[in-house]
């Protein structure tokens, strides 16, 4: 027997039909949905400022609606997601309302909180926590800009606790992505929290499935021919010894082979021997892969090392404003013409007395996606001129946003694309990676029925 853990969302913005399609095509025990990229929580923080009842993954509500028939028909199905974002309680109430309305009011919903440190930062600093920037070594006290969000990456323990308590749905804020997989595994197999080898193995499975279809042929170098239009999302069949088989629902598109899984193993990691999670330190060099059937790859992991005594914290601070706008430049002279058009725009801004901390011009179509790696061609049929600015002053960035359209009548011939309107001014959230002692963070678990959450 194995426990079947699937993932059908790799980020907020992933395919909203994928969760429903997955549970319709395969019986899984735990459906996980991963919604929180590094800066997603800072965007949610802005939303919660405007509306105290927001600040979670809104897509989750439509997804929950779509999963109701499966929850009614499949008794084994559980949902574990970090879509609670910055407001897991408000999220639980909204999800509970959907369950209650579908006569599933008895379903238990577990909410994990405690990751949000934004209200405790000052107190923790007074208590001696320096929050040293892991990249620069600077203490947080040197930061002058306002902190937007600060969340510890919690581990799998509170998720397992909620499941042990009977939760059918577990909603969390920031947790390590792999914890969405490790929590259900520990709940099912009752592994000890110092069983480093098994925790490491389950974490590797979690790492492979956490980005959804990136494990099943999406984003793969050899994607062509993988039938991605109905790509199946990944399922980890996790055994009691921690080994797993990565697969996908039968009859779906995509491909699971050694290379699609290998590419995902080395995705967004640093030192593979010391991949830190709150539950275990993974040694990815101990991972072995074996193709054991069509679209079935077995993962065995030889080793894991004791968990660190601190949590990683994703802290975001406001760092001014940015805007980007683009115009299509056409004609055999388009490269030179685009450069000249950019010069005209920035010269006019200088004349208007507007300066920026940073400006940038890209000519998309002639290699600027990875600037400078390939020599610029001598000519092109057309290029997309993309201009961007960043500055602490919103007013300066707003002024930039007004400077593209005037080129319609006062710039070179052969430019198009004004119909998109003025570029949008967006806040910049900068990232301050740091640590907090585990002893300074208290994860809480609250499990109630949907009817109770809905009151």
């Amino acid at each position: 027997m194995t426990v079947r853990i699937a993932n059908a969302a790799g980020f907020l913005g992933d395919n909203v039909d994928a969760p429903r399609r997955l549970v319709e095509a395969a019986e899984v025990d735990f459906l996980t949905l991963e919604y929180l990229a590094e800066l997603t929580l800072s965007i949610m923080a802005r939303q919660r400022q405007k509306d105290p009842q927001s600040g979670y993954a809104r897509d989750l509500l439509d997804v929950t609606e779509s999963l109701i028939p499966a929850f009614q028909q499949q008794q084994q199905l559980h949902l574990v997601t970090n879509g609670g974002g910055l407001n897991p309680v408000a999220c639980a109430r909204a999800v509970a309302g959907i369950f209650a309305a579908a006569d599933l009011g008895e379903a238990s919903i577990g909410v994990v909180t405690g990751d949000d440190l934004s209200g405790n930062i000052q107190q923790l600093q007074q208590d001696g926590c320096v929050f040293e920037n892991l990249d620069t070594g600077e203490p947080l006290s040197s930061l002058s800009q306002p902190i937007i969000s600060a969340n510890a990456y919690l581990g799998a323990e509170p998720i397992a606790a909620a499941l042990d308590d009977g939760a059918r749905i577990v909603l969390t804020g920031r947790v390590a992505d792999a914890a969405l997989c490790v929590g259900p595994a520990v709940h099912r197999y009752s592994w000890a929290w110092d069983d480093w080898n098994r925790l490491s193995a389950a974490s590797v499975a979690g790492h492979v499935i956490e980005c959804g279809a990136q494990a099943t042929g999406g984003y793969a170098t050899e994607w062509d021919g993988f039938q991605l239009e109905d790509v199946g999302y990944p399922i980890a069949e996790l055994a009691e010894d921690g080994s797993s088989i990565i697969t996908k629902p039968t009859g779906t598109g995509g491909t699971v082979n050694r290379r699609t899984v290998s590419e995902q193993i080395v995705y967004e990691i640093g030192d593979p021997r010391q991949y830190m999670t709150p539950d275990v330190v993974i040694d990815f060099t101990s991972v072995e892969l074996e193709e054991v059937g069509a679209d079935r790859v077995k993962i065995t992991v030889a080793g894991g090392n004791p968990a660190p005594d601190s949590y990683k914290v994703s802290l975001a601070y406001a760092d001014g404003f940015t805007a980007s706008g683009q115009l299509l430049v056409y004609g055999s002279d388009c490269i030179a013409k685009a450069k000249k058009a950019a010069e005209i725009i920035f010269a006019r801004l200088t004349q208007a007395g507007v300066e920026f901390e940073e400006t940038y011009c890209e000519l998309l179509g002639v290699g600027d996606g990875v600037p400078g790696v390939h020599a610029e061609p001598e000519s092109a049929t057309e290029v997309m001129m993309r201009l961007s600015v960043r500055d602490p002053r919103r007013k300066a960035v707003s002024r930039f946003a007004k400077e593209l359209a005037p080129l319609i009548t006062s710039g070179p011939a052969g430019l198009a694309g004004y119909a998109q309107g003025r570029p949008q001014v967006r806040p910049v959230f900068a990232y301050w990676p740091t640590l907090v002692p585990k002893s300074a963070v208290e994860a809480s678990v609250s499990v109630r029925t949907a009817s109770e959450w809905n009151q």
Partner: protein, 120 residues
């Protein structure tokens, strides 16, 4: 120095790649298509060569890690994303394109190219 794309032997013939971000660092995973290809890349796909190929991105450090059991490498390019995340003004704020770019990286042609490619 911009690399020539006319070189006949490129990494993509014997390996696949995937890239992403770690703050302002980019990571590029390279998966060899065969053991022979892995051993060749162990010699030829050096930190220095990768750093030179991506020199225009301004990385201040390039580190290679080996994962021999899955015949893969992980390259970490420090501080090469123009600020990373929402701060970078580049269209590719997260270094997603670097995997495709490295696939086109020219490498010295081995004495017997077919031995590496046929082994795939």
């Amino acid at each position: 120095m911009a690399a020539s794309i006319t070189t006949s032997f490129t990494l993509g013939q014997i390996a696949t790649a995937r890239s992403g971000d770690k703050g302002n660092h980019a990571n590029i995973g390279v998966v060899a298509k065969s053991l022979a290809a892995y051993e060749y890349l162990e010699q030829e796909l050096t930190e220095e060569r990768v750093a030179e190929y991506f020199a225009s991105l301004g990385a201040n450090k390039v580190v290679r890690f080996e994962l021999p059991k899955i015949q893969a490498f992980n390259f970490l390019l420090h501080n090469c994303l123009g600020g990373g995340a929402s701060r970078s003004l580049r269209i590719d704020t997260q270094g997603k394109l670097l995997g495709t770019a490295i696939s086109q990286m020219p490498l010295p042609a081995p004495e017997d190219v077919s031995a590496l490619i046929d082994a795939v």
